[in-house]
Assembly symmetry: C2
Homo-oligomer: 155 residues x 2
């Protein structure tokens, strides 16, 4: 029932228990939201969806759960907006990839890049950096939006 490439709900709950943490209805609700989504959800979006599983779940609890899941290495928070204020969460199990946010349609596209991977390694080597985090995000217009913005539609 779960999407490919994503840890099953039970596996995640087991991981919680093995860490000595309790599997509460709230945590299960957040895990279910994350397990069923391929998207990049904000804490508030996760909250909204989690209410379907636990109607009384509180936003503060969502934040605390997300923090816990990050600690466990289950999810990764990402800064995808220009101001970098809001964070979006995605599965940490995903293979290394990067994000492009279209300012026209708002869609976030994921892609891989060998060149980017190699650049990161080269930079670490050249400067002696021990890189623990690389925050790499692109913004602009996607192919579709660039066309409609530059050309204008013929109607």
């Amino acid at each position: 029932m779960s999407h490919e490439g994503q840890a099953s709900l039970e596996a995640l709950q087991t991981q919680l228990r093995q860490a000595g943490l309790r599997v509460t209805a709230q945590r299960a609700a957040v895990l279910r939201v994350l397990a069923h989504s391929e998207e990049h959800l904000s804490a508030e979006q996760i909250w909204e969806q989690a209410k379907a599983y636990d109607a009384s779940i509180n936003l503060a609890t969502v934040y605390r759960t997300l923090s816990t899941l990050k600690e466990l290495g289950i999810i990764d928070p990402r800064s995808l907006t220009a101001d970098g204020r809001r964070r979006f969460y995605e599965s940490a199990a995903k293979p290394r990839h990067y994000h492009f946010t279209c300012l026209g349609c708002g869609r976030v596209q994921e892609f891989e890049s060998d060149l980017l991977d190699r650049a990161r390694e080269q930079i670490a080597r050249q400067h002696g950096f021990h890189i623990t985090t690389a925050r790499i995000t692109f913004e602009g217009l996607c192919e579709c939006c660039a066309q409609s913005h530059s050309g204008g539609r013929t109607t």
Copy 2:
């Protein structure tokens, strides 16, 4: 008197006037701070330093000025911290470069990277993106801090 590669104070003030904006004591103060600094300053740091030129300058004014200067293409705000909450400002006149923040000593190192430049172009080409902003930042331990953390000093 001004640092190399940096627009002179008068040039910047002229740019303000040409945009139909007034050169107030507060704006001059912020410009002077920016003109004399090679660093990445937060709004609050700029505020502190600007007080030397205009003791009564208000933080809100600093923010408004920074916003104006960004609009004019004079400065660029950067997210250099992990949480991305705070912004640091640097001259937009600098040649393209990237940042590495050391979590040990807190220092920010700038560097250039051909590979990163090429990756960015390749990504745009491959996916049809019209990239307007690339936010690329690295974090970890610099060479110096990595050594002292791993080895420990012999004393």
